[in-house]
Symmetry: C2
DNA sequence: CCATGCCGTGCAACCGGTTGCACGTCAAGC
DNA sequence: GCTTGACGTGCAACCGGTTGCACGGCATGG
């Protein structure tokens, strides 16, 4: 500990004890188990403690109790707008439960994610893995060593919170079918993303059920640029509507379409997913709400309850819904 | 520590020592100061350690060395797109220096920020305060207790990295003047934001220097909605161009303008700041680049170098520049 | 009035590492 | 051949809290 000021470092429990004329234990208990000792003793100790500027040393406490008082969350990419709200929810829940939040960014790289989680391991009480890109084996291996909660990754036996975008996506397909579209494209996201697999499957299933033709275009990463770059493929597919893996991709697609003079929604319909950014686009994007914030919050709640000894293979599914805005309309009359 | 698996908890240094037939000290040194002991001893210890699955206990190490191995960053609002890249930079730098990153979100509330920093204090080696909303006194008080680095907050005597958006903003005003604008509005952001004060000042100064009229409109918070809500005031000011505190506000303004049928840039020019989102708007927003990622990285570099004993009142200023895109043009001909 | 028991507090061990110092060994120097 | 010193390792104290157990005082019950 650096000795920042002349007055010396923060006092220890022993110094407070000496100043208050009691023992270390009493000071300790005044802070962690006040009900065990007389109210006036507590008051006196607290008084002396605040006068001295005493703050309990988190690390020392962690060592003797075996609880670090932190939970970690690792995400593939903080800069992706889906994650900030999720992190925010996690941080709020952690804070409320008295934990601090460690943050890791794996940069979409499974290997980096693996070492990151390993590094966090010894210094946290538990880890939340959001949209993990690791293999199921890697995840299970980590889960064996310490409490783990997954977000948007469905590994049986592990606690996880899943955002059921599949249902919302199915509703999106129905919406499109109802408008008269007969052929649509799904623009897929990261290959190792569970959500992507779910959404792709949902589009295909709903399409089959409703008798629509479904094409696919692959955008490897979820970025604005990837979206604009896929526009030629999308247009080339012959479809009249597109469902993008997420809003970011949809935003790029919107821009690419505009650049080619294709009007949305008159000439082409587009639907995103997650409902981040969507309201701020022009035209405002029809999308599937995901409530990432809820997921973040729920995940650390699950983690904390698990740390408190409750059972741990809960599978929490969060609902989604289609939110209609201004990027869908009946298909344009075919030009041929 | 929960005993996740039947095989039992991770072994301690003593168990490794016993198994290897050496003392605790030797095992400890094999890990932290291998050059102090014979290469073959190190090899032997390492061998036994890996066989037993030993991992040094971070908390215990932190307690005896007095270094937590973590740095914290607190931001006013993770969901504001300016911060994710900054956090990303900070996380990368921390990771590289062998530190983990604790994250705090103050929700733009100085009081929350104050307690958050206080809570972090004892369990981190240092703190990065990004765009702090606290008073200078509060900041100094925390800085007295532990290493602190500021981002976008200019408190003399404390290490800080400042993004010099004022220069970029001045260039923006010149650009507008060059296009023929004679009257512009500045839409201000959070009251207690240093950046906001800097930018406001820069607009005023440049306006005065170039003989432009400068009006002001206050948006209390930096959000999309606040931007659209200010459009009436902006239009009512009689100006022909607007410079917004940041891109988020500018995005809202763009939308509000569009909703009222005001064409950008033909009838009105708009400039943002930070260069987040800007490239993805339509039309693409002319803005001032800020490179938040650099700032985040630089801040933890500064912090780490300070922890290594180097001097600590460095004031690092990061350059910015105006990036021209498609939201500025000569003013429309006056209708009166 | 003494035995019983509860309750508030203190003692000391412990959490799992790190580190100053002492000790023993062995090679080099005189 | 003995001293000197360097070097590798071990001992034990320490980091700053927590906690099981013991102790002493007081109130209650018989």
């Amino acid at each position: 500990m650096t000795q920042q000021r002349g007055s010396g470092a923060t006092p220890t429990i022993s110094q407070v004890a000496a100043a208050a004329g009691v023992s270390k234990s009493t000071v300790s208990r005044a802070f962690s188990r006040p009900e065990m000792i007389t109210a006036e003793t507590v008051a006196h100790v607290m008084d002396v403690a605040t006068r001295l500027g005493y703050v309990p040393n988190h690390t020392a406490r962690a060592l003797s109790t075996g609880r670090a008082g932190t939970v970690a969350i690792v995400v593939p990419d903080i800069a992706n707008p889906f994650f900030p709200p999720l992190i925010r929810g996690a941080q709020a829940a952690a804070d409320q439960a008295g934990f601090s939040l460690l943050l890791g960014d794996s940069d979409e790289d499974p290997t980096r994610e693996d070492v990151l989680v390993g590094k966090f391991g010894p210094q946290t009480d538990g880890i939340v893995l959001a949209s993990s890109r690791m293999t199921e084996e890697q995840i299970r291996a980590h889960a064996e060593r310490r409490p783990l909660v997954l977000i948007n990754r469905d590994v049986p036996g592990l606690p996880r919170v899943l955002i059921d975008t599949a249902t919302g996506i199915a509703a999106a397909v129905e919406h499109l079918a109802g408008l008269g579209h007969r052929h649509l494209v799904y623009v897929s996201g990261p290959t190792s993303s569970w959500s992507n697999a779910e959404r792709r499957r949902a589009v295909r299933a709903a399409g089959r059920r409703l008798g629509l033709k479904v094409s696919a275009v692959a955008a490897r990463r979820s970025t604005y640029d990837a979206g604009v770059q896929r526009v030629d493929d999308i247009l080339g597919s012959g479809a009249s509507a597109v469902i993008a893996f997420d809003d970011l991709l949809a935003q790029g697609i919107l821009a690419g379409l505009a650049a080619r003079g294709v009007g949305v929604p008159d000439q082409f319909s587009v639907i995103g997913c997650d409902d981040v950014l969507a309201a701020t686009m022009s035209p405002p994007l029809t999308t599937v709400s995901a409530h990432g914030g809820h997921a973040g919050r729920k995940a650390v709640d699950l983690l904390v309850s698990f740390l408190d000894g409750n059972e741990g293979d809960e599978r929490r599914v969060l609902d989604t819904s289609l939110v209609l805005r201004s990027t869908t309309a009946p298909p344009a009359v075919r030009r041929n």
